[in-house]
């Protein structure tokens, strides 16, 4: 290193900056080169930057000369509805052709369509990583999260519609109130029978118990399951798979206690609770978090039957 410093004191500030930049990178090679190279050649870092600029130029040139052909775009057919705009007061489908990018999701495509072509295109989205549950859509006839669905996996034209069986507010936005009501109806919060003794005492859960409820904790309230259930579509009072799964999450949590569990079972074993489930399995199929919803509902039915039989 001392040889470097000695050299650097003789050269111009630019070369010195370049030399200093490369001396922070590992490699004896750079020391040797900087020793010889000082004024004539700029050095490896500058070389690399030059090559990068060349590649960039070459890419831009090819991009501008290539025409946009069929394979390079994705054809979207998007449901449009806006009661406040005359042209869209009656629902219709709009066609968008967005440039295809590798790894593009439905959400990416929609955002591109909105930003580049029609800024009135309205849809919910937030985290774009399948944790917020905002962008549940009806894509090519199935309920899916927009951010989690790859365009490459879909048949074109890609039909994007709002979730079925819920009132449409505008374009792809549906009224989620009913869904939230059903979720609230099962009291989706931790309600232990007793609090632990001391102030700092923990409420413990065995790993086995955690494993049991693990999948049911994954719900992101996206509403895909309820939308896919034909019973939920026909019977407005049906709690729905998401709400029952939520009840399962707490009923099966050993930290809540027997009384809480009994109360929860009473809520979900009413006429429009678990008994409405016809094991259609659509909810399990569409859940973006892979929660085995039907299995949980079935387990609750068995629990309800067992607990009732005891009173005889």
């Amino acid at each position: 290193m001392s040889a470097d410093d000695a050299e650097n004191s003789e050269v111009t500030p630019e070369a010195q900056a370049a030399a200093e930049a490369e001396s922070s990178e590992a490699g004896a090679e750079s020391d040797a080169e900087s020793g010889e190279a000082a004024p004539a050649t700029p050095g490896p870092q500058a070389d690399r930057m030059a090559k990068k600029a060349d590649r960039e130029r070459a890419r831009e040139e090819t991009e501008s000369t290539e025409e946009i052909d069929e394979e390079e775009t994705v054809h979207l057919r998007v449901f449009r509805y806006d009661p406040e705009v005359e042209a869209k007061a009656e629902p219709r489908f709009d066609d968008f052709y967005v440039p295809r990018e590798e790894g593009m999701t439905v959400l990416d495509a929609l955002i591109e369509a909105r930003d580049a072509y029609d800024s009135s295109l309205t849809f919910r989205h937030s985290c774009r990583q399948a944790v917020c549950g905002s962008d549940a859509l009806f894509v090519n006839g199935q309920q899916r999260l927009g951010c989690k669905t790859q365009i490459a996996d879909l048949e074109t034209p890609v039909r994007i519609e709002p979730l079925p069986h819920q009132d449409v507010v505008k374009d792809l936005v549906v009224d989620m109130e009913h869904f939230y009501e059903q979720m609230q109806a099962v009291e989706p919060y931790f309600q232990p029978d007793d609090l632990p003794e001391g102030d700092l005492e923990e409420q413990r859960q065995t790993p086995e118990n955690r494993e049991k409820v693990k999948m049911s904790t994954r719900c992101i309230w996206c509403g895909a399951c309820m939308s896919s259930c034909n019973i939920a579509a026909g019977d407005n009072e049906y709690l729905g798979p998401a709400a029952i799964n939520k009840a399962y999450r707490f009923a099966m949590d050993e930290r809540e206690g027997e009384n809480a569990k009994a109360n929860r079972l009473e809520t979900i074993e009413q006429e429009h609770g678990v008994w409405r489930c016809q094991t259609q399995f659509s909810c399990t199929e569409v859940c973006p978090k892979d929660i085995p919803l039907t299995e949980h509902i079935q387990e609750l039915k068995r629990e309800a039957v067992k607990s009732n039989l005891k009173f005889w």
């Binding site: 009806f138 090519n140 449409v168 399995f281 039907t294 299995e295 079935q298 039915k301």
Partner: protein, 144 residues
């Protein structure tokens, strides 16, 4: 956000126009319901037809022996119709599917086979077909 209108109700989206997009579980549910309705309808009809026994019971022994009573006559006339025989094959198909899918549902209710639920539906369809085809000769014997 204030919203004057409630929102647009698009109605039942998964109507039969979209049948190609139905999943196995959904077909199972549809078929089970359909076969259920047919069987209930048949139950009432069956009891009605068999009710001819009530008038037949008071017939004299000779009539009964000869098979000339209303009960026997009704049934044999019906069984003589080719159409009735064909309908009976249909009834068999309906009943066999309802039984086989019913077994599948009972197993699901007991927590068995949830991972294979779509395959078990296809199995019950195929088995229904096999049983029906195998039974056709017996069913239409003597009517064609």
């Amino acid at each position: 956000m204030s919203r004057a209108s409630k929102g647009y109700d698009r109605g039942v989206i998964e109507d039969f126009g979209r049948w190609r997009e139905f999943s196995a579980g959904m077909w199972a549910w549809i078929f089970h319901k359909f076969t259920g309705w047919v069987l209930v309808g048949y139950l009432f009809t069956h009891i009605a037809v068999l009710s001819t026994a009530l008038t037949a019971q008071s017939a004299d022994p000779a009539t009964l022996q000869a098979g000339e009573d209303t009960f026997t006559q009704t049934i044999q006339t019906l069984e003589g119709q080719a159409l009735v025989r064909v309908l009976e094959v249909g009834l068999l198909a309906v009943a066999v599917f309802h039984i086989l899918n019913g077994i599948r549902l009972l197993l699901i209710d007991l927590g068995v086979g949830l991972e294979a639920q779509d395959r078990s539906f296809y199995a019950s369809l195929i088995l229904t077909g096999a049983i029906v085809i195998a039974s056709v000769p017996t069913f239409v014997e003597g009517a064609f």
